[in-house]
């Protein structure tokens, strides 16, 4: 039983067709990669799953339920987390507050309790802090920067904080848009290790977009290739690597 399945997804803006009849399904606990040349529509697929774009046709189901018409915030509450290609942290907040914000949907404090603070709101905040410290901050090794403003951090660390925020959402499926883009070799290695740990230790299914082929081939269980909004191949990394359509898309075709 797939945890996330996308059936016949199409997306167009006016006359411009972005995605055309894409179907795939992701099994629980696997790392599923989406690759393709620039402008192929990879991020658009994630935006449709996350609810930011409304698909013009097709169906998305998550955890056994149809979520095609569910609002983005409700999808998040059901266990769909997301990291972004161009980091989307809240720059006015500290690292700790950013991470705590990830847990928003799991908290209950309402407006009036928040104004009063003492009592239930305080207890909830303290439990949250403990959880966040143990499950996320310790795990991603960012203890030293927890009180710093997000804007002042190095790029690689910001990416890590974004992952931390997504983990605080306790997701069932984590959508990652280019997690290692722009990172040096060491940061890339760290990030790949974190993604593997997330999948193995926490049973979180990962769907990721990436251009770094070494990372894709090393960590993903299955790979889907898209080009010009169409799916051209799907399979294990080895299968995909030797697929003629894929070679054509990436390297071009020899003229006879």
């Amino acid at each position: 039983m797939a945890i996330l399945s996308v059936d016949n997804l199409s997306l167009s803006f006016g006359g411009l067709s972005v995605l055309n009849d894409i179907s795939f399904s992701v099994n629980p606990g696997e790392i599923f990669a989406i690759i393709g040349p620039n402008g192929a529509g990879k991020t658009s697929i994630l935006n449709c799953i996350g609810g930011f774009y409304k698909p013009s046709a097709g169906r998305i189901s998550f955890d056994g339920k149809d979520i095609t018409r569910t609002s983005p915030d409700r999808r998040a509450a059901r266990g769909l987390a997301r990291t972004f290609q161009n980091i989307a942290l809240f720059r006015g907040m500290t690292v700790l507050d950013n991470i705590k914000l990830g847990a928003h949907a799991h908290l209950k404090t309402g407006l009036l309790r928040a104004l009063a603070y003492w009592g239930p709101a305080h207890r909830e905040e303290m439990t949250l802090r403990e959880q966040v410290e143990q499950d996320v901050i310790d795990f991603l090794e960012i203890e030293a920067i927890r009180k710093q403003a997000v804007g002042s951090l190095a790029y690689g660390l910001q990416k890590r904080v974004e992952l931390a925020r997504a983990l605080a959402m306790h997701p069932k499926v984590l959508l990652m848009d280019e997690p290692v883009a722009g990172m040096n070799a060491e940061e890339t290695e760290d990030m790949a290790r974190f993604v593997l740990d997330i999948q193995e230790e926490r049973d979180i299914t990962v769907v990721l977009i990436e251009h770094d082929m070494n990372v894709i081939m090393d960590i993903s269980d299955r790979v889907m290739v898209v080009n010009f909004g169409q799916k051209i191949a799907e399979g294990t990394p080895d299968e995909v690597q030797s697929h003629p359509e894929v070679i054509k898309a990436y390297l071009g075709q020899k003229k006879d």
Binding site: F52, D73, F90, G92, A114, L115, A116
Partner: protein, 347 residues
């Protein structure tokens, strides 16, 4: 110099006043606020009361504009709604002060949510224009719905009384205004220690990713409008009982702009900044005026030039502050504290 600052529990780490030194200073501040009315004359007390009202209103606006990022040009109108609610309830129905106070807040919050409803579709400057429209509409109602609001002559309000004690002097009003101001400021500070306050800031910083984090944007924008207007309404109610009268002239557009100036000069998104800004905007013009009165009697001609000059000087002060510290007085205060943290040792 601050040393030995380590924490053994998360609760201690997340406290508002984190060190013993800060707590001592806060205690001194409270003692000073308690002693102040016994030392000050009626004029200073009147100014203190008005400053208290301004602080409550500015803290409210800072929740909406500074934290949640929804620019509002209608804040004075909400203060006005609170003021008129209190005046009408107390003169027509004879309700006591302690009941009027929350009801003023609630009625302002109600209208705040109506005005905030367009925020579902609009943001930034467009929403700003929508709130400007609200300011105009409410001003119009204050002036023209004579049977209820008393038109331009306004409504005269009797003195507040709680449990038979009449609060008829500035001295007595001080003991109503300041405690309510302290409660309002603490409530706002608390808000930002919980998920609601974090959600507000998230909406300001990046609304799209806030929604993908599970925040219902419309619901939280309405929360921000409601909270902000509630603060404004409470401020309006207090203002009525301090001035003993309410007229439309108290809530014009430039009053809304003045509230915006308070939070910009003080520091956007900072509760402490709203306090500084409100004190600055209320007290500095008065201070300039009393400075001028020192020249009185020397030469009437000089005075006729100096009077308009005080507005210019006040405007210059604001500009100078913003040029040298765009993040407001709160940021200045933070740097001052950082300096004295290591004082008298340089490194």
């Amino acid at each position: 110099m601050r040393i030995g600052d380590y924490k053994e529990s998360y609760s201690a780490d997340e406290a508002v006043f984190r060190t013993g030194t800060v707590r001592v200073w806060m205690l001194l501040l409270f003692v000073a606020m308690a002693v102040f009315p016994f030392w000050a004359g009626p004029y200073l007390l009147y100014m203190a009361n008005l400053t208290g009202v301004a602080i409550i209103a500015a803290v409210g606006l800072n929740i909406l504009t500074g934290a949640a990022g929804q620019i509002s040009l209608g804040h004075a109108a909400f203060v006005g709604i609170g003021a008129y609610t209190a005046a009408i309830l107390t003169t027509r129905l004879g309700l006591p002060f302690l009941i009027c106070l929350p009801l003023s807040g609630i009625s302002a919050a109600f209208f705040g949510m109506i005005v905030g409803a367009p925020s579902m579709r609009m943001k930034g400057l467009y929403l700003c224009i929508a709130t400007l429209a609200a300011q105009m509409i409410f001003e119009f109602i204050f002036v023209h719905w004579t049977s209820v609001t008393g038109g331009i002559r306004g409504i005269n309000v009797p003195t507040a009384s709680i449990f038979g004690i009449s609060f008829d002097t500035e001295f007595k009003m001080y003991f109503i205004t300041v405690p309510i101001m302290v409660i309002a400021v603490s409530a706002a500070r608390n808000l930002f220690r919980t998920r609601v306050g974090r959600a507000f800031i998230a909406i300001r910083d990046r609304d799209i990713s806030a929604e993908l984090m599970g925040i219902n944007l419309f619901q939280y924008k309405l929360y921000a409008f409601a909270t902000s207007s509630f603060f404004a309404g409470v401020a309006g109610c207090l203002q009525v009982y301090i001035l003993k009268i309410v007229t439309p002239e108290h809530f014009p557009l430039h009053e809304s702009v003045r509230y915006l100036a308070m939070i910009i000069v003080g520091g956007l998104g900072s509760v402490l900044g709203s306090i500084f800004g409100a004190i600055f905007m209320t007290c500095v013009p008065e201070a300039l005026q009393s400075l001028l009165s020192l020249f009185q009697g020397i030469d009437d001609k000089i005075m006729s030039y100096l009077y308009p000059l005080q507005t210019v000087v006040f405007g210059m002060l604001i500009v100078v502050f913003l040029v040298f510290e765009p993040h407001g007085l709160a940021e200045m205060w933070r740097r001052l504290k950082d300096y004295f943290r290591l004082w008298p040792f340089e490194h």
